[in-house]
Amino acid sequence: MCVSVHEDFTAAACHCVTVSLFDLSAVIYSLWHKSPQNVDGSSSQIYLHNTEERRSKSSDKIQDEANVIPKSFRLVFSSVRSAQDIFKLILVPEVEVEGFASVQALLKPACLYAAEVADKTKTLTLEQFEDAIR
């Protein structure tokens, strides 16, 4: 996963900086505390979006799987809100961490099953499904 940050929220041609997932929390922390401002000093509300651009696929992954399960997203902070692309930033109490992990663990087999079974051109093997459920 990588993140692109629009450094100048008022510029038409925004300069993007790509950072690693490990820097995401730092980026958010930085933006949160610096209160990003426009050139005239006014504040902007920014949104974390999915740009639908994907990073190059890992060469060791089969093509079919890469099409079914998104392995990475390119994220962008933008001043323009796009409802269908927006990501929510959720503060997570410790008690909910386990819930997140449990739900995430179920997502992969759910997506795999839904995509493979619905598509007549594909086959879902028991091995794939069993592996995904584990």
Binding site: N67, L106, A110, A114, T121, T123, L126
Partner: protein, 180 residues
């Protein structure tokens, strides 16, 4: 056992389903998965007896009575997480998957002329468990209920269908076939 070889030569999931042992395994994994989803939506450490034959119960019990087997106090936090992380959408897509694969032949129809009538019996019974899972994600949670009502199901990548359709309409369409 290398099932991939066999299945790849079947070319269609119906190829698996006519072989009872594969059906049983496939349904076993599917049911185990859905029980995990349901358990996640309930407070407390829920465990159901391992000897329960869920497929038999789903096949023979009316939907409401079947759903009562999974009554419990909803966990609003995990319902929200399931909604926000799109597990609800994924489970809904799962519930439609088998139907979409066989849509032209109305696979849930009880009509004796339906070629999938017996082959898809396990998958048809699993629909009740899918619906229980979706119910439990929405039980006593208006936000999740509203979210589900607003959602459209997207056509799959590469699908011949080009338009989104309401999830509620998709369910209605499938139920009409289910009860025909």
């Amino acid at each position: 056992m290398n099932l991939s070889y066999l299945i790849s030569h079947c070319g269609d999931l119906r190829g698996i389903i006519i072989i009872p042992v594969f059906v049983a395994l496939f349904v076993f994994y599917l049911y185990r998965f859905l029980l995990k989803v349901i358990k996640l939506q309930l407070k407390g450490d829920f465990e159901w007896a391992k000897e329960i034959d869920w497929m038999e119960k789903a096949s023979n019990m009316p939907p409401a009575a079947f759903a009562e087997l999974f009554d419990g106090e909803p966990d609003a936090s995990r319902q929200r997480i399931s909604r926000d992380l799109k597990l609800m959408d994924a489970v809904f897509a799962m519930s439609l998957a088998m139907y979409k694969r066989h849509e032209t032949s109305s696979p849930w129809s009880e009509d004796p002329s339906n070629p999938d009538l017996h082959a898809l019996a396990g998958a048809k019974a699993a629909q009740k468990l899918f619906h229980v899972a979706l119910q439990r994600m929405c039980t006593a949670n208006k936000e999740s209920q509203d979210y589900f009502g607003r959602r459209s199901s997207r056509p799959l990548e590469g699908s011949v269908e080009n338009t989104d359709s309401s999830q509620v309409l998709e369910l209605t369409h499938m139920h009409l076939d289910y009860t025909s």
